[in-house]
Symmetry: C2
Subunit: 216 residues, 2 copies
């Protein structure tokens, strides 16, 4: 049995943040598929046993179960030392991790979910609302990444793994073409993809129920 | 001049998180009004000088400027010791801070913004989408708070200040009546409101341009 057990699903970029970190850090881990689309994580038992927040990822280590991808990344960096921000970078790391959870990953993931994972096509007004939020947020990150190779500077840290959660899903799913619209984010994700251990989401985590666009 | 200078605006619950903390901690602080509704924080100069993320709050301390409310709260707890989680509570604190930024504050704040702060009334589909997100998230927090007086247990911590960002704005602004719908969240916010130093948002920060519902 692996040391790190990651409850996850291919379609969850928040789970991918942890999978990618574990793989690039060369740690001993295994994915455990969760049928998210079937609603398992929203059920009472899952909430009670695994995560009251009703979400993947959950990381299990020596019987301890942890949730919230950024809290997990911080814990992993602290306990393994891999991709840890320096002491001087700590405030900046927190700042971008919260920005990521509040807006960068969040807006993009919501847009993708409405674009390809809802049972029925979504109201166009909702999609337009979310797209405008993505545009505001991605413009900030694009400007920031135009001036440095990684989010905190010269070195890859957990902040990059956090912000990379959804950027490798195909534009057919996300409905937004990063390569076309955000050149600095595109160059950054290609730099990250050159890391030893990098793989795209569906190559590391069980695919489960596919997004709508992938089955059509 | 006060030791802590908080760039803020009455309508920003994210700024209120810091204002409320500083006041309840009895620290030497002053608010500096920012005309958020006028778009100042989105302008190039503000982004360059103050915060590339284009948001309030910004906390200025001894010439250093910090943004992202949760990162600021963590820094304040660490440097002052006030309302700091214990070492044992640290992971749980991070988990709820990220949940707050990702969903709890975020969904509720988006709903309120669309309900009362946009120049024009918003598409009903967008408001319904946001309301259903609030309902999911608030149900989780309501269940959690039904079992303990504060988010981490018996003691008030920075996590409570973070999650309290928007819960004191009137239901006419937010469009959601916490007292009616979420009894445990309501009881929790009343416990917090009994703290020495507690004041509602518009009594601590400049009101500036009022929300639409407040001028009608």
């Amino acid at each position: 049995m692996s040391h790190y057990k990651l409850y996850c699903i291919g379609a969850s970029g928040n789970a991918y943040k942890i999978a990618l970190y574990l793989n690039c850090a060369g740690l001993d881990w295994e994915p455990v598929g969760v049928e998210f689309a079937g609603g398992v994580t929203r059920e009472t038992n899952w909430r009670a046993d695994m995560n009251i927040m009703g979400e993947v990822p959950v990381l299990e280590v020596a019987g301890k179960r942890m949730s919230q991808s950024a809290a997990i990344l911080l814990w992993l960096a602290e306990t393994t030392g891999k991709f840890a921000p320096t002491q001087d970078e700590r405030f900046e790391a927190m700042r971008w991790l919260f920005f990521d959870n509040h807006k960068f990953t969040n807006n993009y993931a919501m847009h993708r979910f409405q674009n390809c994972l809802t049972p029925q096509p979504v109201d166009p007004a909702v999609l337009a609302f979310l797209r405008s939020r993505v545009e505001n947020t991605f413009a900030i990150a694009d400007k920031h990444l135009a001036e440095r190779p990684f989010v905190l500077g010269e070195t890859v840290t957990i902040v990059d793994f956090s912000m990379a959660g959804y950027v490798y899903y195909p534009a057919t799913e996300t409905g937004i073409d990063i390569a076309e619209e955000y050149p600095a984010i595109d160059a950054w994700r290609r730099r990250l993809a050159a890391l030893q251990g990098w793989k795209p989401p569906y190559d590391m985590m069980p695919v489960g129920t596919s997004p709508r666009v992938r089955t059509s």
